[in-house]
Symmetry: C2
Subunit: 337 residues, 2 copies
């Protein structure tokens, strides 16, 4: 049992309210009384109950972060970058991973609400906009990132998905490819839509026809990536280049490509958007368009801090920031034969 | 501002204590009164304050998990496995990553304590045994895992590091290697010590001499792995096989080996302990001794649940469980030429 304020007061021979005032530095307490109370608190290993004090001060020092998974570099880079920022700012980040389940995300957002965290960063499913807005309206600091939460009233930091797809496609076009395949996210998710828009836009701008049979759109899963790569490699006329738009699909597609009949990059160029440490260690090392997850997280932290330190009652400005991606040329792309 | 119980009571035209009894299902409240209070609570979007109720019931539904990082498969597999377990058991896992800093770990353990989490899983630095024991003594459910916390009074789940090193070394010996290098963790960390004991023990049992210049022991960092691999490959007589004992070092060592002059596995066999998805996608796919992080996490969850559901006041039994590793043969090991 932790010591209570009552037991500290009893040990010091003062009332509970005097003990409370002594420990909180109230000026109306005699120095000798304060010393006696402090000695009793140390002897009893008294810990002021931060939950109880949060009820009064509305300051728990806790920031929530919800992510879909911790496997992919984007998510664990976001988590680690926010933790480092928080350590400097004397906040603590508590991370919840949901497996992409909106119900588990909602349960965590309720915890954030009920335990009165000071703020929350939502890099999650894109669902739960109502709950996100409740948190905003109740005065919590809220930032959404990585995936759009349609209708959310909080500032947002996003990867420039369309730009990433344009940069990747442009790189392949410059090398001379015209039969370019794409393994993309689903059309009902913002990033999937924007990536597709960037891919098709870059082709159109270059006057290169889109081959519908070379485009595979589906879930952010290794299974989808595996199936898509298998189908593309089995085509009578396979592509000369493939663009893979997310980590999860790449985890399934890359082993299929590595084991497949086409040599990379001599017979098949491969480019991924998002980045992942092991991309640099693949054979050959993978050319990528890095989404700069660390920079995304630092901008999210800054937008959160603005709210945490701004005037109480100010609603956050609803705005979307885009973080520009960066082409990282490695060994997996080359001109077609 | 969230609605308070007072405002619900005022809206329903009853006293605060009647409103409280109505919402908690107290039998002494008239059905018509209960209906009025419930309607007011819904209209005002009243949320019972779970922090306040935790002060009475000591049940927050929160489990803490502290890990050194979220980059390596061992840690993110532990985090995701515990989250899945928790979702089934109606707990929430809040994860803190510390960068291996004992002070940040201590700050999180204080949060766990002060916010009265129901339990905590410590897969951290191995420091903070005093704080871990304070949590145990205060009645929290505590499990340590992955790295020993010397002196901790909580049950513990560990990888069988010595067995892992013996299995890996035995595999190389069976293939006929006698010049075997090892890139290992530091000697002052349990896993580093045990791995070294397993490696040297397996060599001794086989009557194969240990070449001191082939053993590199150092930090769990890519930098250390990179330096160690560079030195080993530059030896006048390089090893015919190398055993890499942790993810972090492998992240530095593998690119050096991949870019180096020796062909894997024809001129150099490579085996890693612990497992990591990309090990299977390396060229050639890496033979590993899998530490089965998911199984580790499930055993930790079970030991935690025993404490969460056991009689209050029962101290956890201080015991260490070892999870046996598994050899996964892929393409990076072969007989020496």
């Amino acid at each position: 049992m932790p010591a209570t304020l009552n037991s500290v007061a009893a040990a010091a021979g003062v009332s509970t309210s005097t003990a409370s005032r002594a420990l909180s530095g109230h000026p109306a307490v005699l120095p000798s009384t304060r010393a006696r109370v402090e000695a009793a608190a140390v002897a009893l290993r008294y810990q002021p109950n931060r939950m109880a004090s949060a009820l009064r001060t509305r300051r728990t020092g806790l920031i929530g972060l919800v992510v879909n998974n911790l496997r992919t570099a984007t998510f664990h880079t976001i988590a680690e970058t926010l933790q480092e920022w928080a350590a400097e700012e004397e906040y603590e980040v508590l991370v919840c991973t949901t497996g992409g389940d909106p119900a588990r995300e909602a349960a965590f957002l309720q915890t954030v609400r009920q335990h009165r965290f000071d703020g929350v960063v939502v890099a999650g499913t894109g669902a739960n906009s109502e709950l996100v807005n409740t948190l905003v309206q109740e005065g919590q600091a809220v930032v959404t990132m990585n995936r759009e939460v349609p209708g959310a009233l909080a500032p947002s930091v996003m990867s420039a998905y369309e730009t990433a797809a344009r940069v990747a496609t442009g790189h392949l076009l410059e090398l001379g490819h015209v039969r370019i395949a794409a393994i993309e996210g689903p059309p009902d998710i913002t990033s999937g839509r924007l990536h597709h828009a960037g891919f098709t836009g870059a082709l159109a701008d270059a006057g290169v026809p889109l081959h519908e049979d070379l485009v595979r759109r589906g879930d952010f899963t290794p299974d989808f990536g595996r199936a898509a790569a298998t189908e593309l490699l089995a085509l009578p006329e396979p592509p000369t280049a493939v663009l893979i738009s997310n980590h999860e699909a790449s985890f399934g597609a890359l082993p299929v490509i590595g084991d497949g009949p086409l040599q990379v990059p001599a017979q098949l160029s491969v480019i991924c958007t998002e980045d992942e440490p092991f991309y640099a260690w693949w054979a050959p090392p993978l050319t990528t368009v890095d989404n700069r997850a660390g920079l995304l997280a630092r901008r999210a932290a800054e937008l959160l801090l603005e709210q945490l330190t701004g005037p109480v009652g100010d609603r956050p400005v609803q705005r979307v920031e885009l973080v520009a991606p960066e082409l990282v040329e490695r060994g997996s792309t080359a001109p077609p034969r």
